[in-house]
């Protein structure tokens, strides 16, 4: 084809164009351009999101500056807005959720991929995937009608009498609060960890296991020393996914957190999260400063997610390098 074009006596300056046309005709260039468009859409949407949040929050940013991150008062009537209690609530509930969900989820994933029969594993994995698809309002209802009374009547009084010397387990037990929100979130994010981790563990090469076994390792040693470290990056990926879901969860959290913008060391106390306050107050927010402060909260949540994700990536990088050295 190319020779024929050259043979027709086209000047060399047309050649790149012809080559390009050829690539286009074979589909390479089309695939390249199309995928480039898709990829830039993702970046474009993110950039637009940040731009909009930045522009719309101008009023609040000018008025409060950095103090927005450090003040605790949220008073729509008096026009005083501070993000600290919401930041605190978001971080604390997500931390509780991960603290509970990571061991539970990882344990389940290890059982499903390493110990259980394949049929049971597949059936359970199907159930886990179903759990991931349950709407968050259902988890919220579960939280308010099952979890909260359970916490108020049984769990919190026991924690207080046994561990009351710690500041986390003091004060009146309402049922709803940081603990209830963290627990509800833990239940919600476990399916993500189980589902992704199980897939990653299953895809660890057979040779990896066989090599460990051949060296005389027991089954548990094989799992803990050869299989899980190999799958570490993927497992951490599932934890990020869980963290992202926990940070942004709105409906279930607002139903069980108590919606009181206060900072308390006690996990029994009511609190508030960023996503919850935006959802609660946005529709009725009159006055441009109030609206602008709510939008700035959105920006803060975006930044928080960004920073936590970045830290997590750094962690992966660090551990991956160490793992490499050990091998």
């Amino acid at each position: 084809m190319l020779e024929r074009v050259n043979a027709t006596g086209l000047t060399p300056s047309f050649r790149p164009l012809r080559i390009y046309w050829e690539r286009l005709r074979r589909g390479d260039e089309i695939a390249h351009v199309l995928t480039l468009i898709f990829a830039s859409t993702v970046i474009g949407v993110t950039a637009l999101l940040v731009y909009q949040l930045w522009i719309q929050s101008a009023l609040s940013r000018q008025k409060f500056g950095w103090a927005f991150f450090a003040t605790r008062v949220w008073d729509p009537v008096g026009g005083q807005f501070g993000a600290l209690p919401f930041l605190y609530g978001t971080v604390v509930t997500s931390a509780i959720a991960l603290l509970l969900a990571v061991p539970l989820g990882l344990g389940t994933a290890i059982f499903l991929s390493e110990f259980s029969a394949k049929r049971i594993s597949d059936a359970l994995a199907f159930l886990v995937d179903l759990l991931a698809a349950v709407p968050s309002v259902i988890y919220g209802l579960l939280g308010i009608f099952v979890l909260a009374p359970l916490l108020r009547v049984w769990v919190e009084p026991v924690l207080r009498s046994q561990f009351g010397f710690l500041p986390f387990f003091r004060g009146p037990a309402y049922g709803v609060g940081f603990l209830a929100a963290g627990l509800t979130l833990a239940i919600m994010v476990v399916p993500f960890i189980v589902s992704v981790s199980r897939e990653v563990l299953i895809s660890v090469p057979r040779e990896q296991r066989e090599a460990a076994l051949a060296l005389g390792a027991t089954r548990w040693e094989t799992i803990s020393r050869a299989v899980v470290p190999f799958a570490k990056t993927g497992i951490l990926g599932s934890v990020f996914l869980a963290l992202a879901r926990a940070l942004g969860e709105t409906m279930a959290v607002t139903m069980v957190i108590g919606n009181d913008p206060k900072i308390s060391a006690s996990l029994f106390a009511p609190g508030y999260s960023i996503a919850a306050v935006i959802a609660n107050e946005f529709t009725e927010a009159t006055g441009s400063l109030y609206l602008s402060a709510l939008i700035e909260l959105g920006l803060v949540l975006f930044l928080l997610t960004f920073v936590l994700n970045g830290l997590a990536r750094l962690l992966v990088l660090a551990t991956a390098q160490r793992g490499g050295l050990l091998e």
């Binding site: 308010i144 309402y174 709803v176 959802a279 529709t283 009725e284 009159t286």
Partner: protein, 351 residues
């Protein structure tokens, strides 16, 4: 394969033709006679049940007028009205002077129905209707009265044995007209509340837990022993929720009912300001329930589209007269006739 694809095309084309034919004939039937007038409104969620009923009923009377109402919340309703994306707004709190100043043409407030807010509680062993003085309610919500057997509560409830348990206060966490009415009332009866907290759809609550929506508040109250909260009268009636009596400005303890709410509005009819932006909490009158408020439609005075203007004017007139009969079956208190007559006279200001 090609044959199959070809057949699919034929089916697809046939379907598309069918759909377009059906939609054409549908359009034909609705546009016969006069041109369809589409009116868009948005705002208050509290008023949504009756506004959508009114839109339906009015459409039956005037088949060429379609009113589309979206319950996006009062704040969003005001914003959309100011931005000119809707023909009318609806709000549970009147617009502020600052908001009115942003409007392109002056905005009229039309009270549509009345809502009331009632105190509801869960004290184990107490099934009686408690009586609340304004001082008791303000004290509880300020966090100053912390026990159920506080003299401020027991004095009004002689003969009832109240526990010495801590009171758990529960409020709405979402911005709402209900909270506006409640805090507006507390601001009127307590100088300290007015000074420290003030009134609004969302406020900086001194104490308590927040529940999302009426159902969230009710859920939390049912789950939490020794709690107190507030819900709309409509919601309490429809869900058979126990609620307390409140002492009005004449000293009488009144149980909220659709009649006692209309009575509250009637008591303020004479002193009604011309723009109807009025708070009627804590009104005079022996049988007036003190925690009540209008909810408003917000209509611009200048509407350039003549067909729209006439339709909106005739809708407002109908809403203030025959439409009021829809209120009580939906558990809203209707307007006192003095007030609706005054509003009807204002409709002519729209031009």
């Amino acid at each position: 394969m090609n044959k199959l694809a070809g057949r699919n095309w034929v089916i697809l084309c046939a379907l598309l033709t069918g759909i377009s034919l059906v939609s054409c004939s549908h359009n034909g039937s609705t546009t016969t006679g006069s041109q369809t007038v589409l009116i868009n409104g948005a705002g208050s969620t509290f008023g949504y049940p009756i506004y959508s009923r009114w839109a339906d009923d009015f459409h039956k009377l005037h088949p060429n007028v379609e009113i589309n109402y979206q319950s996006v919340g009062s704040g969003a309703g005001i914003r959309q009205l100011l931005a000119g994306t809707v023909d009318f707004g609806a709000s549970d709190a009147p617009m502020t002077d600052a908001q009115l100043a942003q409007a392109k043409s002056p905005v009229l407030h039309f009270p549509t129905v009345l809502g009331a807010v009632v105190p509801t509680y869960n004290i184990p062993g107490v099934t009686a209707e408690l009586k609340f003085t304004p001082q008791a309610l303000a004290g509880i919500f300020l966090g100053k009265i912390t026990k159920w057997n506080d003299p401020a509560i027991t004095r009004a409830n002689a003969g009832l044995k109240l526990p010495s348990a801590n009171i758990v206060v529960i409020h709405r966490s979402d911005g709402s007209g209900t909270s506006f009415i409640w805090t507006d009332y507390l601001s009127k009866v307590s100088a300290e509340w007015k000074d420290k907290v003030g009134s609004g759809t969302s406020v900086n609550w001194p104490v308590g837990l927040g529940g999302k929506g009426s159902e969230g508040v009710t859920g939390l109250i049912q789950q939490t022993p020794n709690s107190i909260g507030y819900v709309e009268l409509t919601y309490a009636i429809q869900n058979h929720i126990l609620f307390g009596l409140v002492q009005n400005s004449s000293g009488a303890f009144v149980k909220a009912s659709l009649e006692s709410v209309t009575a509250a509005a009637a008591a303020t009819a004479d002193s009604m300001p011309k723009d109807f932006r009025v708070s009627i909490t804590n009104p005079p009158g022996n049988d007036a329930y003190p925690i009540a408020s209008f909810t408003w439609l917000l209509v611009p005075t200048q509407i350039s589209d003549a067909a729209k203007r006439d339709s909106i004017k005739s809708f407002l007139h109908w809403m203030l007269t025959d439409g009021q009969n829809d209120a009580e079956p939906l558990a809203y208190a209707k307007l006192p006739t003095d007030v609706s007559a005054k509003e009807d006279a204002t409709v002519s200001q729209i031009h």
